[in-house]
Chain length 254, copies 2
Amino acid sequence: MMENNVSFKELLEKRSEIAWKQFLPSVSIDCVVFGFNDGALKVLLLKMKEQQFWSLPGGYVGKEEDVKNAAQRILFERSGAKHIFLQQFGVFAELNRSEGFFSNFDDSLWHKQRFVSLGFYALVDFTSVVPVTDDVSDVIEWRDIDNIPELMMDHRQIFDEAIITLRRQLNYKPIGYNLLPEEFTMPELQKLYEIILDKKLNRGNFYRKMVAYDILDKMDEPRKAGGAHKAPNLYKFNTEKYNAALKDGLKEGW
Amino acid sequence: MMENNVSFKELLEKRSEIAWKQFLPSVSIDCVVFGFNDGALKVLLLKMKEQQFWSLPGGYVGKEEDVKNAAQRILFERSGAKHIFLQQFGVFAELNRSEGFFSNFDDSLWHKQRFVSLGFYALVDFTSVVPVTDDVSDVIEWRDIDNIPELMMDHRQIFDEAIITLRRQLNYKPIGYNLLPEEFTMPELQKLYEIILDKKLNRGNFYRKMVAYDILDKMDEPRKAGGAHKAPNLYKFNTEKYNAALKDGLKEGW
């Protein structure tokens, strides 16, 4: 709010000067941050000042900074979350991917250079994240994956590939573990799988397969239920068995 | 051979000058090129002059060159093969990945800068490839994946991740199509799957699953067999059906 009287252009030009000294040229990072809440898969999007389109949180790599650390840092700055599950999944490098967006800027602007962007997807515990804007953005919020606004540059393509990757990696990355709270019900787990796979699953089959994988521990106490409903059983991942199973990949198709 | 009297150091220094003008900083490409021949999966490796360790073919991205085109160009220069099936599969960016290798060179050497390397795997028709050395290498050859010599820098890690990727993508990328000759026998296809999956498969089950996928066309003429052996049936991929099936992923585990 402090800098509301400074234009986006001036802010970016100020950032550019520092960036030329601080960051590795030609390499950028774009993050697709997923959170699961209230039966819906959400993605963290922001809107830069004076801009029409939304964007994925992103940034650059310090000259002496590990690439994965850079992605963790970028997400920490925006969400306060540490030790986020992060997975690099693609490279976005079309020649003119940022053309248009920076056309009103001088060619010497850092952000106007050519960048090969490394796509990371991140899985976060929705409840532990407090999205924060920075000096060049004025909105950051969770959006349902079925309700994504128009995104700048190639960010829609990056988002789409992240979803496809999530689907393909569901059987060998700890995706459920990182998106669900520690304890969850079987219908909650099934709902997450249905959203990622984009199809309805049979409840009995899902339950049987999950039990057969032997990767869940059933809690002694069910969740406290309100009213006339039966209290649902709670589960948590047995991380040792889960990680061992993921190493070979969960064999069943869904 | 022409430049055998020029040292590796001098050659690299000459290359460095051109590279600073020609290429995008901080981004490199390393390729894991697979070919299938005589029942064995092979990978293309080279040895630079005066070097102890082997390396993957690699290079850099032109300032105005698309990243995928750069990978195609690099492979064409080394193998004469065009329209190679290429898949980006990982980013190799450890801070000091090239430290040691260029320690005897001046810090201004292009190759001594920090590079984030994009890993591509390539699938080529073994018979159509003629590996060629360039001015800084004196050996390039196919090596059986079970017999890989010691590799420079992080190239062993890049190779290992390429194999893991191949295994995971076997059900949704046209891997068999790109590695086998146009016509092949069922045992040849099974052998390729066994090598990539690193396990023996039951012959009857493999045949049944492959037939059930309905992605192969059986040729009218069997392969001409010598001696007392029965002539084996020949198949080829029905590319239309194959591509449609890969889009959803082949559902069966192996």
